[in-house]
Assembly symmetry: C2
Homo-oligomer: 368 residues x 2
């Protein structure tokens, strides 16, 4: 029997999602340790935004290291270039786990991959930025054999990316993808325009969602539709469409033109009720047809069309019947022609996002 | 760069699902061949029930080889023991793909795995037979490092097994699994007790389903519930329950006691209308509560209870709202606590079953 293999792991971001990730990883390493055939996972680098801890001799750091300990570290801070060098020089295969949503980290993925360091991340930025970056990432991976997995970039831990990849790689022809890709938008419209009952006023629902923590600190970051557009960009590229950027197709913003110039989220929230009548009209127009309005994204593969915005659905449609803050993603394909393959469930939150990252890490490690 | 790796593949069963599998595999090998970093897939053995073709020197067979050519082969027939020996002696890692639903092939998986031959299959029998066989299979795999993947054993190509494994391996706690696991049962109840309208008489719906090819040649093989019980056995074991066999928990058969002794499927179909009133009572009892009846399977993990049979659901419940012959599987977990993670879509048919097999094969090959 071969000696036990060790895979070296660097973690960028150990607060928020990273905290959940570390805690799940601890359980995973304990399970893997039970069979000497499994690889050992050695976490050798952890960082927060301005600090890091790393092991100069690649001895594993404790998985009980807290985010606070990392934040208080006085160790020299490795630049991304130095981190790449450090991981590439590890005495075994290496993986970087990027738990941030930072564009500047995402921009470095091609460098990690070119040096043979695999990438696992929930960060949408790398895959929904410029098409040039997308090509650089997957080009570098194809050349070096390093892996890049990003399940949690769409629908958090829901099996979305893996399902698209399985469909495409086994030769199915995806014709259309449609769904609700934002927990915030899901919650807002399920409350604003429920399938039964009247629902609340728009601004009041946004306020409630903000108070419950379902929106970004500034709700405009959800209402502009960019988050959904990023997810659609990723899926569209995975089915072969060359989408230049998340702003290169129609994205309907729910920020009224007049409020685009608000200087703060608070001012925006204060003035939003002035526009309740606009959204009420949308709701009533749908009701008049026995339908409800939802904020969806869709990809028509044959036409090469991607769009994000409001659409009306029959009340019995799975998209209309969604509950809470759930996501739903429907894949229409040649094989799933009579009815779509549907994946549904919570698509946001630390634990389910971390689950997608840990699941990816396990799949990558199994291939190294 | 390392020399291109070749993985050797033996295929048991190239008719039915196997035919779809071969055709999908052809596309996959062509795609893989585009990057020399990818392994080459060499199919070196193909069999039908009584004949086989194999390559004595492990040179790849043509993927255009038809099921008819295999059926007409005069080559010496390898016993399963000989096949194991042959694949284990290949000049590289080997995988056996079992496209049959045969118990005797399934019984040999531990031998394949012990000799380092990975197993990929849609065959339910191995994983839903005796618990001793389950332990022998996964024990042999853990010891040799060979892989065993069986996505299509539940829900065909739908991401069901992979989702359960991801949940469990990343440390989530599955509390309950519930769903419609049979395309036949789905079609029957969606027609017999639709959420809108009256639906047909029971025997007439069974007749229609049979004529449309939605049932086994003898519909009793669907109506006895064993197929669903097998799938539940697999899922229950994956979440850690020691289920002795698919008959060790309550399974409601929809074959009336009086018709259990019918000598043929035809006699059964002829006499089934005599029992329409029994099923009509069930339908009306649900209607009286504003509900519909469905044939479901469920696993209560904490209680260790598995059951299969008729249950009533509110018309707005996702299980009630299912269409056509779709499957739906809901995972209730600690992380997905507010609402379940749901996977839905066609769960039967050659192409989607083969897709699950090909997807598994790709995952196994990537790890070898």
């Amino acid at each position: 029997m071969a000696a036990q293999k060790t895979v070296f792991i660097g973690i960028i971001g150990v607060g928020g999602v990273g905290k959940c990730f570390l805690s799940q990883l601890k359980g995973v390493t304990e399970r893997l340790a039970k069979n000497p055939r499994n690889p050992a996972l050695a976490v050798v680098f952890m960082s927060r935004s301005k600090t890091n801890i790393y092991s100069a001799d690649y001895a594993p750091l404790s998985l009980d290291t807290s985010a606070e300990t990392v934040a208080a570290s006085k160790q020299d801070v490795l630049s991304t270039a130095k981190l790449i060098e450090y991981l590439a020089a590890a005495p075994g295969k290496a993986v970087v786990v990027d738990n941030t949503s930072a564009q500047d980290v995402a921009d470095q993925y091609p460098e990690f991959l070119a040096k043979g360091v695999s990438v696992v991340t929930p960060n949408k930025k790398a895959f929904s930025g410029s098409y040039a970056l997308w090509e650089a990432i997957f080009g570098a991976a194809a050349k070096s054999g390093a892996k890049v997995y990003h399940e949690s970039s769409v629908g958090a831990g829901l099996p979305v990316i893996s399902t698209v990849k399985d469909l495409v790689e086994t030769g199915d022809e995806v014709t259309k993808i449609e769904g609700v890709f934002s927990g915030t938008m899901s919650f807002l419209f399920n409350s604003f325009a429920p399938t039964e009952g009247e629902g609340g006023k728009w601004a009041a629902e946004v306020k409630k969602a903000k108070e419950l923590g379902y929106t970004e600190p500034d709700p405009r970051d959800d209402l502009n539709g960019l988050d959904v557009a990023r997810k659609l960009t990723i899926l569209a590229r995975l089915v072969g469409l060359k989408i230049e950027s998340p702003t290169s197709f129609p994205v309907q913003s729910l920020i009224p033109k007049e409020l685009e110039s608000c200087s703060s989220g608070d001012e925006f929230m204060q003035r939003l009720p002035e526009f309740d009548s606009q959204m009420e009209e949308v709701k009533l127009a749908a009701q008049a047809q026995g339908k409800v309005v939802r904020f969806v994204g869709s990809i028509d593969v044959a036409k090469g069309e991607v769009k994000v915005g409001l659409e009306m659905f029959d009340k019995s449609h799975p998209i209309a019947a969604l509950k809470g803050s759930d996501n739903i993603i429907s894949f229409y394909t040649k094989r799933y022609s009579a009815s779509p393959l549907i994946v549904q469930g919570s698509g946001a939150g630390g634990e389910v996002t971390a689950m997608g990252v840990v699941g990816d890490l396990l799949k990558v490690v199994a291939q190294l």
